[in-house]
Symmetry: C2
Subunit: 381 residues, 2 copies
């Protein structure tokens, strides 16, 4: 457990650099950014349900609706000055910024490598503007040909402020248990680049039932779909043996592991009671359990908004593997000034202090010390 | 917190009475029970992936495969003597038995009421055979016309050993946030009948990815799909206002709430940050939070196989609302005698003792005291 003083590090915080915003503005299918007459900010449209609303508006004309789909793209998304303001307001010393979902998942094969290179360069130059305060997780051109994808890893490891890569769950289109990803995982591990695993696709919308879209806002897909997506992705990697095959691979899981800390016991039980796995000899004494992988290869952010879940995350991975985050610029305050304090900071910080004690070694570690040590967040590193 | 001595109660334990087995044997689509030449036990086929295997076998002939689909229907499913043997082996004093998934969800409208009545009578007569050791959660004829469904509640409340009803997540076909269920919930609440909410349908199989069926056994749908299904169902009820509209409704959630204790913080955050809900005035100061509902109307079983998740469940609902269970006859031991000790008992009991201390008041409460008090498990009650 590292205590590097009382510095606060935000390891889950996103940026949309200008070139990425332009890319989204040029698109006709989700994800896309669309401007509406009379609306102050353009809208960022990600979810299938939002695309349906957009479709209705296109057919009926914007005047037919009082509510625009998606979320406003405020300066919080793309302004570095705003990011620094957010950090200063919340006494965050260092942010490890990353592109937000869905990254470059949608970019055509021929453009992927160059788009990734330009986005990663923009991230590096943002970090250079604020020495010691910004580091970043790079973005991989997953739709690029295999050799360009490996070259991209080589490129980002040369960027001074890059500490890993942010990765969605789709991989090359078939999930992260795809054997074609093994060379990617090996290259990342070899270069000491952590994977920050982050959800985007959620679950098929029919699981939310007929009332969800009209009545429950985005609560179900965001609160339940996202964490499950992460859990499924990492469970598939575990079952495919990725963690054994690439033992140096280190993964940081968004939202405190989705639901992994809570469900690890049930996963273990389902494994040892699975006739197929037992017959295949996959449940032998040498098997590394989910619990071991949680303590040896997995790190968890502390973006869980309650000490109840946070304690389970700490119990599962260890207090030296949890790292504070805010998820900025998502979930802005709706009933107070968004230049002021955000609940994402308040709730997640309170969770750490309630779980570990205000000012305790554990709290200092989770709030920043762990990230500084694990990700080597020193300007001269 | 109740400590009624050191009696152990299993509140999550299923039975397939003979009439229900016959019903399943007569079916052509899942769920069904099928006998195969040369196999000792018939097979119980529930999951869509298993139905696909069955289809292949039907086409190719049973000899073409070495592995039969589904799970063996051993005497653990339908023999009361075997249930009592399991209880004796594991020092379980009282079991609150229930029909297993998918209950009567598939029964035609015209037959539902009578089938439910006969199943519930069979449960009552099993309880009568072992006074003081067995109580049960009844089964509702959800596909019956509304008045017969309400009459069924009236019927089961008159059965001496009935303490509630086991309910899946489909309700009348559109989930448990269906307003047509409000009279059902009100009737249950008025009669002091607890709902035991139990998953069956999991998640659409595409979420498990292309390798799941062949390589990962049933791990993903059972370990992740089931708990998420429960979480979605109860979150939809919460968002629909069911708990406010029926404040006396009491629900016991299978598998320690699915993932609800871990995700409650994120659900709360997503609610207060949801533009739609805020605009609709649904996030006012009078809103009862998910945390309040967890502590006031929800009970959780302790079927979670680890103290990590169990502690979160206790933190979320309170030690007086957790109740031990085994999920018998599911997850039989695969590498030891199934007449001996089962991991389901060992792991879940160890979780309680690690979380609360061996022999502590809390452990006694969770292992049996709470169930005895909350469900009034007294023969003369």
């Amino acid at each position: 457990m590292a205590s590097s003083g009382s510095r606060v590090v935000d390891i889950h915080t996103h940026m949309y650099p200008p070139a990425y915003v332009e890319l989204l503005e040029s698109r006709q299918t989700i994800p896309l950014i669309r401007r509406f007459a009379g609306a102050k900010d353009p809208r960022y449209i990600i979810l299938p349900a939002e695309a349906e609303s957009l479709e209705k508006i296109s057919q009926a004309g914007a005047a037919a609706t009082t509510q625009l789909p998606g979320r406003p793209v405020t300066t919080h998304y793309s302004s570095l000055q705003q990011k620094i303001h957010f950090m200063d307001t919340h006494k965050i010393d260092i942010s490890v910024i990353s592109l937000a979902n869905p990254w470059l998942d949608f970019v055509a094969e021929a453009e992927a490598a160059e788009t990734a290179r330009s986005v990663n360069r923009e991230f590096e130059s943002m970090c250079l503007e604020h020495p010691g305060r910004l580091f970043f997780f790079a973005t991989l051109p997953l739709s690029a040909p295999a050799e360009e994808l490996l070259a991209a890893i080589d490129f980002v490891r040369g960027l001074k402020h890059c500490r890993g890569v942010i990765l969605g769950t789709s991989g090359l289109g078939q999930g992260l248990d795809d054997r074609r990803l093994i060379p990617v995982f090996k290259a990342l591990a070899k270069n000491g680049l952590m994977i920050f695993l982050h959800p985007h696709y959620g679950l098929p919308s029919e699981v939310w039932g007929p009332r969800a879209t009209e009545e429950y806002g985005h609560v179900l897909p965001l609160a339940l779909g996202f964490p499950l997506e992460t859990t499924i992705a990492v469970a598939r990697m575990y079952l495919a043996g990725v963690f054994d095959e690439v033992p140096e691979l280190k993964m940081l899981l968004a939202h405190s592991g989705g639901t992994l800390p809570f469900l690890a016991g049930r996963i273990e039980s389902c494994i040892v009671h699975d006739g197929h796995l037992v017959r295949e000899g996959k449940v032998g004494p040498k098997r590394r359990t989910v619990w071991q992988v949680l303590k040896e290869q997995i790190y968890l952010d502390a973006v869980i908004y309650s000490e109840v879940g946070l304690k389970a995350a700490i119990d599962a991975s260890g207090v030296d593997r949890l790292m504070f985050g805010t998820d900025h610029p998502f979930f802005p305050p709706l009933t107070s000034d968004e230049q002021g304090e955000w609940e994402s900071m308040k709730w997640n910080k309170a969770a750490v202090e309630k779980a570990l004690g205000e000012g305790s070694q554990g709290t200092l570690a989770v709030m920043g010390g762990n990230a500084i040590e694990v990700l080597q967040l020193k300007e001269d590193a």
